[in-house]
Amino acid sequence: MEISTVASEQNSHSDGQSKPGPPLWLLCELTYRCPLHCVFCYNPVNFDSVNNELDTEGWLRVLNQSRALGSVQCGFSGGEPLLRDDLEELVAEAHKLGFYTNLLTSGVGLTDARTSDLKEAGLDHIQLSFQDSTKELNDFLSHTKTFDLKHKVAKTISNHDIPMVLNCVIHRMNIDYIENIIEMAIDLGAECLELANTQFYSWAKVNQEHLLPSRAQLVRAEKITNEYRDKYADKLRIIFVVPDYYETRPKKCMNGWGNVFLTISPDGTALPCHTASMLPGPAFPSVADHSIEHIWYYSEGFNRFRGDAWMKEPCRTCPEKENDLGGCRCQAYMLAGDPNAADPVCDKSSEHHKVQDAVAKAQLSATVQATEHPLVFRDAKSSKKLEKEGVVF
């Protein structure tokens, strides 16, 4: 979530001495069920073994308790949130409580009737995913036949006058057609287009060699995006997120651990980010057992990486540590084997060469590259297989 302030500087990071701020952004991952099988999905690789979806009462409690603490942005996501019959009820409750409500969806199941019901329930915005601007690649990457449907859905959303943001995950296989994706967003009347360069977690990590673009591809894509920004400034806002593997300093992940974001996964486990369940150590708390207030302010999990006492060198004494807080804990775990380590995107990390190796490989053309693993589509069968192989992210 973007947070900016007018005139006054907002220090959105707790210094560890004072109480953390409220969980401003609540993400409700209502289910891991999904009709798509995207190769870059960041739902955990073991999603198939996450059962016992939180029921309606449970979600209503989550909404009420979070709002009471000061949550103000609410996202309904998944998997595919439209697979929940109670979605309209949850949106209505969130709206009644004063949340700004966002639906993050593939569009599958978003009929005219449901769109109308959601609007009446008070839904503020829909983020519609596309996998590409061409039918072939869209359907290939999600392993579905959904392209035509999504176009229809975009029109439906527009007809009901609900603000719409288009999200397209960008990677090696579609980055060279970025102008087509932008043109499509303009045609569909989106408020904003998110060109989200893949970040390498979960399924995207499994498929990383197929997904990380070359530097040349990235430079070209950024140039084109900027040209469109200049030309269509009044019509379309474009967000372009660069893959952090190409940076030498890591991102301030989630704006800080337990600082702004609160994610509730389908079984009620509360997490500081989508993928934190991969981390070793004590389990994260469940809303079935604890109040949101306890979870956010007092649970071990949410306090684990607050402040800077947990940092090791080089982060601990780094003069830049407040900029990025050492980067992403999940990425530190995945690449350096240690969630307390510096995120290896940082060139001060002793493991930075791992990122450099991945980037070096990405400079080879697709035909020259020998990929060790075939593309793996997100589905229950692959989930079970990867879990058996000990893949934990």
Binding site: E2, I3, V6, P163, V165, K235
Partner: protein
């Protein structure tokens, strides 16, 4: 979509918060905020006081008068207009001619 140029703000025009922004006061942050898809602008005191009066009914002159009364100050017009220029540029508000 037309953007009013900096030099030509007609203070007889009526200002309103533009879609998809929503203005509300947040107790937990003790501040007015502008909410939009997956984002938030936290507003400082003066910004909040100006925007909260942009109800789509009052013209800018009235907003200035109200502020001068509420804060027992004169000569706020210039600051309010400067702020409106920023808010227009950021597309937080729209201006329309009075009915």
């Amino acid at each position: 979509m037309s953007t009013d140029s900096v030099a030509s703000i007609d203070t007889q025009h009526v200002a309103a918060i533009a879609k998809p922004y929503r203005l509300q006061f947040e107790q937990a942050q003790d501040s007015w905020v502008l909410l939009y898809p997956e984002g938030m602008v936290k507003l400082n005191g003066p910004a909040g006081e100006i925007l909260k009066r942009m109800d789509g009914l009052k013209n800018i002159d009235s907003v200035v008068d109200e502020l001068e009364t509420a804060f027992e100050q004169k000569g706020l017009r210039k600051d309010v207009v400067s702020f409106i220029e920023i808010a227009l540029q950021k597309r937080w508000i729209t201006l329309s001619s009075p009915k």
